[in-house]
Amino acid sequence: MSDVYVVTEHQAPESLDGVSYELLNAGRGVADDLGVDLVAVVVGGDTDGYLDELGVADRVVGVTDASLDEFNPVAYASAVESVVSQASPRLLLTSVTSIGMDVAPRVARSTDLPLVSYVTDVSVDGGDVVATSQLYGGKMFVDSALGGDPAILAVAKGAYDADGGRESGTPEVEEVGVDAADAGIRFVERHEPEAGDVDITRVDRLLAIGRGIGEEDNIPMAEETADALGAALASSRPLTDNKWLPKSRQVGKSGKTVQPDLYVAAGISGAPEHIEGMKNSGLIVAINTDEEAPIFDYADYGIAGDLFEVLPALTEQAE
C-alpha cells in the first residue's frame, strides 16, 4: 500500500475545517497522477461527525481515542505516526496551520521522512514528485525534488480550492489504533474570538494598514482616510501584535477572512499570511512604496507611493 494520505483537521464539532477539503483536492490530483488511492485520515475522540463529505477520497482511516478529543500536538503526532508506520503512505499531506505546524515537523523527524512545507503546487513526472513552496514572505517560489520516495508535504492554506475537495459521501472507513501514551500536554479551555467594536467581515469597504504605517501615532491619519472613504480600518498582523489596533481588526491567517466590495491595502507588502485573508475581496487597491511588493500581484489597482502622502490626498479627494 503506497497511497496518498491526507491529514484532515477540525476545530468545530461535526465539521472538518475548510482547509481539509483544500488538502483533499490537492491529494486527489496527486493520487490520480501517481495512479494510487487517496485516503482521508480523520483523527479525533469520535470521528463519526466528520465523515459526511469525504466523497473525493477512496478510503478513510479513522484514528479514534479519547486522548484525541481536543487537538493535542503530541497525541496527534502519535496518531499520525501510527498511520505512517501501518500504511507506509507514498505521500502524506498536511496543512500549514496551527495544527499542521505542530504535527508535521515532529512526525517528519520521528519517521525520518522528508518534509516540504508551504507547498502551493505539486507536480508529478513519471512517478517523481516536485513540490513548490512559497517562501520569503511570498517573494520566492522554491522547487524541491523528492524523487520517487515517500515524503510529507505541508500544503499552504489557500493554495487549493476547497470546493474541489468537498463531495458528499463516506468511503469505507478503517480504524487504526493508537498508543495513547502521556503526551505531556493537556488541553485546558478554548476561547472564541472577542467581539470587536466593528465586525470587519461584514462591512462593504475596508482600509487595511500594515507595517508601513511606522508608528502608533500615525494611525489617526489612516482613520481619517477610512472615514472619508466610508470604510472601516483593518490591519495586517504586526499592528495587532504591537497592540496598536485590536485583534478583531486583523486580516489574514490568524485573523479574519474578509470579502468586502473594496479593500484598500496601505503599507502592506502582501505576505502569504495576509493575502490568505483578503484575496477574494471585490476591488483591491494597493498603496506601497515598494513597486515590487507582492501585494500588487493581487491588486486590481496600485499606487506606488508613500502612504503618508497618498492617504491624506485620498482623504482630501473624498471630502
Partner: protein, 260 residues
Amino acid sequence: MDIAVPIRTVPDPVEELEADPDGTDIDREWTEFVLNEFDEHAVEEAVLLKEARDEGDTITVVALDDGLAEVEQMLYTAAAKGVDRLVRIIDVPPGLSTSGAASLLGSFLGDGDFDAVFTGVQSAEDRDGQLAGMLGHELDVPNVCVITGVDVDGDELVVEKEFSGGVTATYAVDTPAVLGIQAASEPPRYVAVSQIRRVMRSAEIETVDAADLGAPAEPGSDVVGLHEPERGGEAEMLTGSPEEAAAALADVLADHGMEV
C-alpha cells in the same frame, strides 16, 4: 527556571532576492541578513516571563552563526534586554535547513538542563518545516507552536495557542518543552545603542563549533529551482503625484459604483 532561546537569521524582508548562479538557493553573498522576527518575539516572551516571575530564572540565547549576519550584535542586544547567557554556534553552513538546525540545536540543548525552549514559530526559510516541532522530537519533549502568551504554574507551562479565525486555546504543558512563539505578550522592547554598548563591556559570548555538535540532519529533498512570483495578475498602476493618483483612484471607485 532555565529557558533557552535559539535564534536564526533570515534575509532582510525588505531585500530583493535573487537566485544564485546554480538556481538552487538565494544568492546569499549579496543579501543582508537580520534576526528572524519571530525569534525576537521568543526572546521578548522569555524576558517578560522572567521579569514577571522575578524568581531568578536564567535565559540563554543560542545563535546559529553562518558568518553572514551581525550575530554578535544580535546577542549583545539580547543581553541588553535581560538575557543572561549568550552562546554563538559558529561555522554553521549557510542555508542550513531547518532539519539541520534542529539536529545541531538538539545536540547542544540536549546537553543542557533547560526547562523550556522558546523559538520563533517559523522563519522565512523553513522550506522543510518549522523548528519547534522538530526540536520537540530531537529532545523527546512536548512541543506546542503558534503561542501568544506563556505563564508558569508549578512545574507546568500554561500557554495560549492560536488557531485560525481568532480562536485560541489554553494548554498546560509539562516541562521541559519546546514552544514556537508567534508573538510575545508585549511588543519586543527597544534597547538604545548606549545600553548595548554598556552590555558589551561585560557580557561574554561563549562559542561552540558546529562541527562538535555532529553532522546536521539532511532535509531529504533537493532544491532544483527558484522562481519569482509570476507577475501575471499585476495591478493597473495609477501614476502621477499623490494628489493625481488619489484623484485617479476616486475616478476608478466612481466607475465601480463606489462614490466617495
